[in-house]
Structures are given as structure tokens and as C-alpha cells.
């Protein structure tokens, strides 16, 4: 199977509180913050790797391409995913100002067609923009079904995927026929969340809150893996934006300082008489 994993670099999500707004308020300043792969994409790459391997024999079942839209420097994050085990990279060069959900969805549609992808697996959102929009959009453009917020995947004997996905008030189980788009949540990296029908059913992946770490060998191999680098215009898509950000601001700080209370009695008294929430 050919799997496409769209991914994005984001400013260090563990230090998101250090993101600043430019002096004129029209742009985001992430100076001083390291670029990292979007953690949701890390889970998506792990999903693709699990779907694509026999974990008992390390045999690969198909091919995984990772694709990103961004500046030339985003090649670093692509290499990180290649080091985890993806096979090829696609880097579509564009600035943030040229991109919105719609253009990325259109671009991915073009990439998926060129790659003859049968499955797109991506994070359910980016840690910076948090729109959760691209997955179902690219599915619609391709005429494919889509499951969002995927928590577990069982590949059935006829090749259909039995999916459990996040829903309001519970979990929805869906059966999806390829080609399809999946957007994943953190649950897919739990030890038995993905059963691909090839890896022995009792196999357990290690407990982890992220995808697998790249081995030294993986890092060395990643340097030689092919990356198809091209400009946004090379995709032949309409690049007119449907949305743009005009202003940014820092949210108002929570008022007052933290009141460190000494006892349960004092806490209850203050919640009752001061905050009036009890």
C-alpha cells in the first residue's frame, strides 16, 4: 500500500507560551523557539509505520511518503520522519503567507494523485494553527471517505479498515474502504491500537506517548532517502487564498496572583465567600 503522511513543522509546542506577537500585531514571532515536527504528525507517521510493517519480522509491506508545505528549511523535519522509517519526502516550498487550509488541501490533492496514494494518514490538527480542517477537506477534494480523531485501526481481511474515532459523548466505530483519509489522535500510539492483519495479533508496541525514536541507522539512512523538492506553482493548483490572518494578540492574562492557601478549611472558606463558587 502507498501511504501519504502530510506533516508540518511547528514552533516548539512545549514552549508555546513563549510565542510572541510582532510589534505591529500582524504576525507571529517565534524567534528563539526551535522548529519541531507537529506532535500530531509524529503520531500519524507512527500509525503509517505500524500499518506498513510486520513488526515481528521487520518486513515492509508498502511505501510511506511524507509531504510538507513550507520553507526550504522544513526539510529538517521531513528528515526526522524519514529517520523514523518513512521512505520518501515531498517538500512543497511556500511561505506561511501563501498558505491556508484550502491551499494545503488542494496541494495535497495534487500530491496524493501524483504519488498514487491509497491512504492519507495525518494528525488531527496542527499544534499551532489548530484548525483541524485539512483532513476532511482533502478527502472531499479527492472524493474519498475520511475518519477524524482516529483512536484505533483494525485492518480487516478484505482490506477495509475498522476505525474507532472520537465522538461527542463516546466513541464511534466506522468501517472505511480505501482510498481514504484518516486524521489521528494520541490514542493511536497506545500499544495495541493498530492491528494491520500482518503483524501478529498479540504483538504489543511499547508504552509511549509519542511515535518511535529514530535509530542511529535510521538517521544515517534518512540522509540518503529521496526528497522531491518543488515550488507551490509546480503543483498546478489555484493558489488564491480563502482566508487570511490580519491581527494577532496575546490573550489577557488571568487576573490576580495565585493565592497559596494553607489548609482545606481556608480553601473552602475562600471559594465560598470570596470566589463564591461553592
Amino acid at each position: 500500500m502507498k501511504i501519504l503522511v502530510p506533516c508540518k513543522r511547528v514552533s516548539d509546542p512545549d514552549n508555546a507560551n513563549k510565542v510572541k506577537v510582532s510589534a505591529d500585531g500582524t504576525s507571529v514571532n517565534t524567534e528563539g523557539l526551535e522548529w519541531k515536527p507537529n506532535p500530531f504528525d509524529d503520531w500519524a507517521v507512527e500509525t503509517a509505520l505500524r500499518l506498513n510493517e510486520n513488526a515481528a519480522t521487520n518486513e515492509k509491506l508498502g511505501e510511506i511518503a511524507v509531504a510538507t508545505f513550507g520553507p526550504a528549511e522544513a526539510v529538517q523535519q521531513l528528515r526526522q520522519f524519514l529517520a523514523m522509517g518513512a521512505d520518501r519526502g515531498v517538500l512543497v516550498e511556500a511561505t506561511d503567507e501563501q498558505l491556508d487550509s484550502w491551499i494545503i488541501a488542494r496541494g495535497l490533492e495534487a500530491v496524493a494523485k501524483a504519488e498514487e496514494s491509497e491512504l492519507i494518514v495525518m494528525g488531527k490538527q496542527s499544534a499551532d494553527g489548530e484548525s483541524s480542517a485539512v483532513g476532511p477537506m482533502v478527502a472531499e477534494l479527492l472524493g474519498w471517505p475520511c475518519s477524524t480523531g482516529v483512536m484505533s485501526i483494525d485492518v480487516e481481511s478484505d482490506g477495509k479498515l475498522l476505525i474507532r474515532r472520537e465522538a461527542d459523548g463516546g466513541v464511534i466505530t466506522q468501517r472505511i474502504t480505501l482510498p481514504a483519509v484518516l486524521t489521528v489522535t494520541d490514542r493511536v500510539v497506545t500499544p495495541t491500537a493498530i492491528k494491520n492483519g500482518v503483524t501478529p495479533a498479540d504483538h504489543k508496541y511499547p508504552e509511549s506517548d509519542s511515535g518511535r525514536y529514530a535509530s542511529l541507522k535510521g538517521i544515517m539512512q534518512a540522509k540518503k532517502k529521496p526528497i522531491d523538492q518543488k515550488g507551490l506553482d509546480a503543483l498546478g493548483i489555484d493558489t488564491a487564498m480563502t482566508s487570511s490572518y490580519g491581527e494577532f494578540a496575546t490573550p489577557p492574562a488571568r487576573t490576580g496572583n495565585t493565592d497559596f492557601v494553607e489548609s482545606v478549611e481556608e480553601l473552602v472558606q475562600k471559594l465560598h465567600t470570596d470566589a463564591k463558587v461553592l
Binding site: L162, Q174, A275
Partner: protein
């Protein structure tokens, strides 16, 4: 003046509260225009009558049997949106809205503003404010297309009371999308709980890794939760460890809540967790570690061993009656 289409979210033949948040937004953004409500899904007729008193110009019913699938709903939503001449199409930014609306936007070739927290209307211009970077930045987005597709954060739009009256209802034609043939709804495993829904609760009590086990969640935390009639939540670490079901996860990866009172028990307060709760009105932290990052947002911080403090807190609150 703007005409708005609200897409209701149904559950067991009734509109979920997220629908009311979308109505609240619709009233603001309409700016003197009208809003209609598209009630789509199984039990649409019954759900529509439940929404008749909310001031909509009309209720549009689209009865679709079986469980929810975006592939089954999006074409009808898009056709109604186009046919009715609406400038804004909206729903709550729940899992439902986030699953359905990008597909609707793609069908309409429309710009999307996801999970907005505020809107500013200035003549023909509508600016949507969104929370980004795990709640550390607010961005103002404008859409350049004739139709705007917008999902709204439930905790930021209050519907107030229904104005009453009786909106007329009519049935709309169901549009068929062949993509739906390649996805099948198997089941919804609904979480059965007597407790209020996380997104709708006035009080939320969340536990973290500090609770150390599922048994402690049950024996230490849940008595406090039930004494306050609160909703139970958890940090990602607690969900990952299997202490509670993952649908209780609060944060960037889980649910965003903004109750009157949020009590974080044994939660250190990673940035991703703060993103899901820092708009709460009053925040209490109970933690042994005074330096835990949860202090950045806590109004009250009880530095204590939670295994002693929480039962004592439950007992003390019971005394208040």
C-alpha cells in the same frame, strides 16, 4: 445584514447544547439578518420541534436514518447553504463540527474559520477570533469567499434563554453523495454517565498522574466530583496511564472546557493541558509541588498531599450543605 444557516447537532433525537452556542453566534453575526436552523440526522422532526422557540426564521428538516457520517450529511448541508443564499454556515466546534464542516467548506469552495471564540461585525466585514498555539495566542481571521464556514467554541457562546415563539418548519431534499458508499457507521459506544457532560458542566474536577491509579480516581476523586455535581476530567497523562477513559481528556488533544470552577488535582499543568482549561472562571490546584506549572493559571493553590486533602475537601464541602 447577514443570513445565517445553523446546522444542529443531534444526539438521540435531540439537539445537543453545542447547537445553542451556534445559535448564539448566529444572532450576533446576523447583525439584523435572519438565521435558519438545518436539523439533520435521525429524528430530525422531533429535534426540530425542540428548537422551535429559539427565534429561527425557519427550521429545515433533513431526516437521515442511521448513525452520523460526514459523507452522508455534507452534501445536503452544502446544497441547503447554496440554495438558501446564506453568507454564513455554522455549527458548534465539537467533534461533530470538526468532522463535518471542513468537508462542507470544500464542497462550497469556501473559507473556514474553525473553533472561533469571538466575532466582530463591521458592516460587510466579519472578523473571527480564534485561539491558537495551545491558547497562547489569539488570531483574527477573515474569509475571502462569498460563504463563510464557521465552527464556534461552545464555552464562548452563551445562548441565554429561548425567546419563545414557533418557527415554521419545512422538509428539505436530501442530497446523495456516493462517497458515503465507502464508509459505514458501525456503532456509537455512548459513555453512560450520570454526571454532567464535560463541555456543559459548571464545575469540572480533573485528575492527573498524581492520582496514581484508576482505583484512586474512583475512591479519592469521584466522591468530590459527585458531592459537587461536577463533571470528571483528566490530564493526558492520566488517560495514557489508563486511569480513566480517554474521552475525559482535557487539553489541546482532548476537550476544551471553561466552567465556573475548575479543580485540578495532581495535575502538573503541561502547556497542552492549560490550553484546555485556562478560560475557566476560578481555577483551583491541589498539588504537592508548589512550583508545578499549573500555578501559572491557578487562582487558589493548595500545596498538599492530595490523598489527604481531597477527602478532607469533600467532607468540608458537605458541611456547607
Amino acid at each position: 445584514m447577514t443570513d445565517v444557516l445553523v446546522v444542529a447537532e443531534l444526539s438521540n433525537g435531540e439537539a445537543r447544547k453545542s447547537t445553542l452556542a451556534a445559535i448564539a453566534f448566529a444572532k450576533v453575526v446576523a447583525d439584523g439578518g435572519a438565521f435558519d436552523i438545518l436539523v439533520i440526522g435521525e429524528g430530525a422532526a422531533g429535534a426540530a420541534s425542540g428548537l422551535a422557540g429559539w427565534g429561527a426564521r425557519k427550521l429545515l428538516r433533513a431526516e437521515i436514518e442511521g448513525g452520523y457520517l460526514a459523507e452522508n450529511y455534507a452534501a445536503t448541508v452544502a446544497e441547503v447553504a447554496k440554495g438558501g443564499g446564506y453568507q454564513v454556515v455554522t455549527a458548534g466546534a465539537t467533534y461533530y463540527g470538526k468532522d463535518l464542516f471542513p468537508r462542507v467548506a470544500a464542497k462550497l469552495s469556501a473559507g473556514i474559520a474553525s473553533d472561533i471564540i469571538a466575532v466582530e461585525v463591521d458592516g460587510d466585514t466579519r472578523k473571527y477570533r480564534r485561539s491558537m498555539y495551545a491558547g497562547n495566542l489569539l488570531g483574527t481571521i477573515t474569509l475571502n469567499t462569498d460563504i463563510h464556514v464557521v465552527t464556534v467554541r461552545q464555552s464562548e457562546f452563551e445562548a441565554g434563554d429561548a425567546p419563545g415563539g414557533e418557527s415554521p418548519a419545512e422538509d428539505v431534499e436530501i442530497a446523495v453523495d456516493e462517497t458515503a458508499e465507502r464508509i459505514e457507521f458501525v456503532s456509537l459506544d455512548a459513555v453512560e454517565s450520570e454526571r454532567p457532560d464535560l463541555a456543559e458542566a459548571q464545575v469540572v474536577i480533573a485528575g492527573g498522574r498524581g492520582l496514581k491509579s484508576a482505583e484512586n480516581f474512583e475512591n479519592i476523586l469521584e466522591p468530590l466530583v459527585d458531592t459537587l455535581g461536577a463533571a470528571l476530567g483528566a490530564s493526558r497523562a492520566a488517560c495514557d496511564a489508563g486511569y480513566v477513559a480517554s474521552d475525559l481528556q482535557i487539553g489541546q488533544t482532548g476537550k476544551v472546557v471553561a466552567p465556573n470552577l475548575y479543580i485540578a488535582v495532581g495535575i502538573s499543568g503541561a502547556i497542552q493541558h492549560l490550553a484546555g482549561m485556562k478560560s475557566s472562571k476560578t481555577i483551583v490546584a491541589i498539588n504537592k509541588d508548589k512550583e508545578a506549572p499549573i500555578a501559572q493559571v491557578a487562582d487558589y493553590f493548595l500545596v498538599a498531599d492530595l490523598f489527604e486533602a481531597v477527602p478532607a475537601l469533600t467532607a468540608e464541602i458537605k458541611k456547607l450543605g
